[in-house]
């Protein structure tokens, strides 16, 4: 009986997955173990990014094409702070998140009055603007020379060097982001976002201030993106303006669409499938067809749109499942 209840609870599934992930570095995978770990770290990083982006198009229903701009801002904040001031990771992460939130608010406050496609164009322009600034402001970002030699993060005086250490670090970040996102989702704020997505006029008439909640969504999403960027800079130890091009935004958006707009489980599943897929294809495809992996990527998405347009874990189903759990909770 108890087991049945556990099985239904998504938290149980999630905990067992985390347990598996923690065990992972110690599985006997031989020489390729580090390679797999690195791919998985990337996948978890994209999970975080997708969870952050999900707040804007998934929860609030606004198409955001400029997410990578905040990712870049976070990465450069982290890189510059650690090169010039040698700050600790625990200071850099909140600072990067704050910087992202600041730019999110500055971009969002005047432009969130636009609707639909117009807003998407503005965000697209913003991400291009960030790349241009990173490329041209040599005094700050060293421009196209990139920013090499970012010192690795250290925890309690112990610098992180091994792949498994970074893997654990990103898992920790994922847990924090997941906690934030789930708490927001089941709160007054999350409900206001959903209301805006479902019907703006009805939401307004229920007392939801559209601008305020849209800007909040945008700022929180931006700060999560910036935090992802901050980790990326510390992990990769080199950042370059070309890493934050428009394509990244589209990729993260694809993860959400693939997994299911607005559903947290779907978003994570999308990242977990699509990001390693690219590496798997790299190994499977013959040398010459190496770049055809993006073609296959596109094919997967097209097939997905044909057979499951609402994504792997559709929002409505997640919602229905949540409601079912709530019913059981109230009746017990």
């Amino acid at each position: 009986m108890r087991w049945q209840l556990y099985k239904k609870d998504p938290r149980f599934i999630f905990l067992s997955l985390i347990f598996l992930a923690v065990l992972l570095p110690w599985l006997p995978l031989g020489a390729s173990s580090n390679y797999i770990l690195r791919i998985l770290t990337t996948a978890v990083l994209y999970m975080i990014l997708a969870l952050g982006l999900n707040i804007v198009p998934g929860f609030t229903g606004l198409l955001d094409l400029g997410y990578v701009g905040f990712y870049g801002i976070g990465a450069y904040t982290s890189g510059l702070l650690s090169i010039h001031y040698d700050l600790s990771l625990w200071v850099i992460l909140p600072l990067a998140a704050l910087n992202g939130a600041l730019w999110g608010t500055l971009l969002g406050a005047p432009t969130l009055r636009l609707t639909g496609d117009y807003f998407a164009i503005v965000t697209f322009g913003f991400s291009e603007l960030v790349v241009l600034l990173l490329r041209n402001e040599l005094w700050l970002t060293r421009g196209p020379m990139g920013l090499p030699g970012i010192p690795p993060p250290s925890i309690f005086g112990h610098p992180l060097t091994h792949d498994w250490e970074f893997f654990y670090l990103i898992l920790l970040l994922l847990m924090i982001v997941l906690l934030v996102v789930t708490r927001l989702q089941d709160s007054r704020l999350g409900r206001a976002w959903f209301a805006i997505r479902e019907d703006e006029i009805a939401a307004q008439c229920c007392g939801v201030n559209l601008i305020r909640y849209k800007v909040t969504a945008f700022a929180i999403s931006a700060s999560i993106g910036a935090m992802g960027g901050a980790f990326y800079a510390k992990w990769f130890k080199f950042i370059h303006p070309d890493m934050f091009k428009f394509w990244e935004s589209i990729l993260i958006l694809c993860l959400i669409v693939f997994g299911g707009m607005g559903s947290i489980a779907g978003t994570m599943l999308g990242a977990l499938i699509l990001i390693p897929l690219s590496e798997v294809l790299r190994a499977v495809l013959p040398q010459g067809l190496f770049n055809a992996r993006y073609l296959i990527y596109g094919l997967v998405l097209v097939l997905m749109m044909r057979w499951r347009p609402e994504g792997l874990v559709p929002f409505e189903r997640a919602q229905a499942k949540k409601a079912k759990l709530a019913r059981e909770r109230l009746e017990i």
Binding site: E198, C205, V208, Q319
Partner: protein
């Protein structure tokens, strides 16, 4: 019984078409007021004006003896429009002045141009806000006016003789001096206006739909507007939004007050669902409900914001006889709670049974008002519904 809602000569026109012409309407505490009229008579437009989804063109609305749409004379409106445009034009000159005083002799510098575009777009947004009487616009304009004034004085004192150049060859003072002469007095005038008198009385700020809801006016929609992909319970919880306060920080830290609020929300939401008889379906998706149930859910969502006045837009549309008699009972129950109800309805059985007072609209004009019995026999009403010939034939 005191008057809770008072509409005084409210007009609304879309371009040349006037949808409402000088409507005057009054609702007393605890009354059920019916609004009827043929299709296209402007009933829903009236509701939209009441909830601020549309901004009315003229007239006043008083809610609980407080003007939510205050009277703004046409001359004052024109003056504000002119001031707003002047404010924007001053901004257009301000930006090149700003840029040439900080980076003289350059014609193009990315950051400064970006800053200029940013400031201009905010000023443009402000102009729209000012003309629509929105409070944020006036607050932000105050800040801009002070900065304008400061710059005007600075330029007049420092750059009278020979200043730096704009681009190559044009001395700054040709722009700066006239600008300072116009902008100085203009900003002093507006700042004094804003500071010296009671701003709200002077300009009459408009409230947005969310602020109207917070004041205690909730509504339902003619074409059902539920949050279809959320559960029934969540729909009502969103209605409860204005009753709770928790912010981002409280939510992230899950403070005690936030948890208490969540518990309260759930309890209250279930209470309202029980009130409309939907508690059995609390955990289904709203989109899965039957049509009549969706109508009742909309009423529950509106009630959850604890309104003082409830606007129902054709609640009985598409209901069968049994459902509509249930609806009548529900509305009477709502009235017993002390909530005033304004109801638009085509179903004459419903409206004649419920309403204490009926207003009849036709082509945006109020053609009759009174008790249901008076309306039933009013020749003007019969004419509006059945056409002139029939009314003539009857006599």
């Amino acid at each position: 019984m005191n008057t809770i809602l008072k509409i005084i000569r409210l007009s609304k026109s879309f371009g040349g078409l006037s949808a409402l012409r000088e409507i005057t309407l009054e609702a007393k505490q605890g009354q059920i007021v019916g609004i009827i009229g043929p299709n296209g008579a402007g009933k829903t437009t009236l509701f939209n004006c009441l909830t601020s989804l549309y901004y009315s063109t003229a007239g006043q609305i008083e809610f609980q003896e407080r003007p939510i749409v205050p009277e703004v004379a046409e001359t004052k409106r024109r003056l504000i429009k002119r001031c707003a445009i002047l404010f924007f034009v001053l901004g257009l000159i301000w930006v090149p002045l700003f840029w040439s005083s900080f980076v003289p002799h350059t014609f193009f510098k990315v950051e400064v141009v970006l800053l200029g575009i940013f400031i201009l777009s905010i000023r443009l947004l402000l102009v729209r806000g000012l003309v629509r009487f929105q409070i944020w616009a006036w607050g932000l304009m105050f800040v801009f006016l002070i900065s304008d004034l400061w710059f005007a004085i600075w330029w007049l004192t420092h750059l009278l003789s020979s200043g730096p150049m704009i681009g190559t060859g044009i001395p700054l003072c040709y722009f700066a001096v006239p600008w300072g002469i116009i902008a100085g007095p203009f900003s002093i005038y507006l700042i004094l206006q804003l500071v010296l008198r009671k701003v709200r009385q002077l300009y009459g700020f408009r409230l947005g739909p969310d602020a109207i809801c917070r004041l205690g006016m909730a509504r339902t929609f003619q074409n059902i507007r539920l949050f279809f992909n959320l559960s029934v319970l969540d729909n009502v919880k969103i209605g409860f939004h204005v009753q709770i306060r928790s912010g981002v920080l409280g939510i992230l830290l899950k403070t005690r007050s936030q948890r208490d609020e969540e518990e309260l929300t759930e309890k209250e939401a279930l209470k309202y669902l029980r009130f409309v008889g939907l508690d059995g379906r609390a955990f289904d998706l709203a989109g899965a409900l039957a049509y009549g149930e969706q109508r009742r859910l909309e009423i529950a969502r509106a009630l959850a914001s604890k309104p003082k006045i409830l606007l129902l837009d054709e609640p009985a549309a598409g209901m069968n006889a049994q459902e509509s008699s249930e609806l009548i009972r529900l509305i009477l129950k709502i009235r017993e709670k002390g909530i005033t109800v304004l109801i638009i309805e085509h179903d004459m059985k419903v409206i004649m049974n419920l309403a204490d007072n009926i207003y009849v609209l036709d082509y945006g004009v109020l053609i009759a008002d009174g008790k249901p019995d008076e309306i039933r026999t009013n020749p003007k009403v019969i004419e509006a519904y059945l056409g002139g010939g029939t009314a003539h034939a009857e006599t």
